[in-house]
Symmetry: D2
Subunit: 106 residues, 4 copies
């Protein structure tokens, strides 16, 4: 799917319902935490994967992430790639390989 199609569909959805008034960066950040916890809830007492439930909750987290990125004027894919480049320098392969202790303090 074309990512620009997705952001236009999301903007239209919000605009039609006049919900943009609620979408301050602060409220969107709260929403990302809230939806992340609903995703975590599917693992509250088990490590088993309920794929339909996870898809649904993960989509909610992603939706608010995309709306926040749009609000501050950045492209989600671009900031992930930029961060990946920073992380690649911070965690050189030779020092990080298979090392959860190091990784643990990401």
């Amino acid at each position: 799917m074309d990512a620009s199609y997705l952001i236009h569909a999301l903007r239209e959805f919000v605009k039609e319902r006049d919900w943009g008034q609620f979408h301050t960066p602060s409220n969107l950040a709260k929403s990302i935490s809230i939806e992340s916890a609903e995703l975590l809830e599917s693992f509250q007492w088990t490590d088993e994967v309920d794929i339909e439930r996870i898809k649904d909750e993960l989509a909610d987290v992603l939706t608010y992430c995309i709306l926040l990125a749009d609000k501050i004027g950045v492209d989600p894919d671009v900031i992930v790639m930029e961060k990946l480049e920073k992380s690649a320098k911070k965690y050189p392969v030779e020092k990080s390989k298979g090392n959860s202790t190091k990784y643990d303090r990401l």
Copy 2:
């Protein structure tokens, strides 16, 4: 940017460091919550937007979301679009317009 390029770069980053062993769906869900809270921390005492900090933390949330989607074999953009279609039915424009009370219980 081509989204398929991004997922390949992420997979390569993880593989080189042998970090896939830590990336169970449950651990990735915890990681999404943890990074979401770091994003929220930039709004802990203020509504002001520190754009560089937000970009950085939002990228971390998105990275773990993309890794979880990849782990369970779904495309992030596709599940967001599918959820949007469900939400459009659940919140018809005429009943939802400008209504935070309704929205509040999304």
Copy 3:
């Protein structure tokens, strides 16, 4: 320890630093989520218990919980007991015993 001693010590700590201005109910709720995620971080890649780290992070969660209870004028122990009584009715022993499916949707 006397719980009333604790709340007085916390109030004094906040007052001396003039930090009450930051402690709106909304900011305290954000703080509880943020500190909960720091606690969760000690279990991000492992189920092993790092007791000193957990004590430290759990204390932060509890501190903000006590400050929020104080802000809205309730006693932490009393609201826990009241909720316990509600839960006892909602989850009768005979239906809930050893049942994580039911419990999962608490």
Copy 4:
């Protein structure tokens, strides 16, 4: 209320339902994050205080905190007081007074 009465009531509630099997430290830490997000949800789109809802959600956070403290063998009030003493040294009054910048990185 006597805090030792509360912990005994909580232990009895859990034991009667045979729910102790689900209460690993890791699962309790997840539960604290999940309930914290439900508390945060009451502030998702507003700073207004819905006191009954907050009491209810805050009680859930506190309940899991008390269960985790009990699981690792510490007294909630004692660890809060110990942390307060550490924080008092870390944030001396003269340097911290009214300073959200400093506080922001607690």
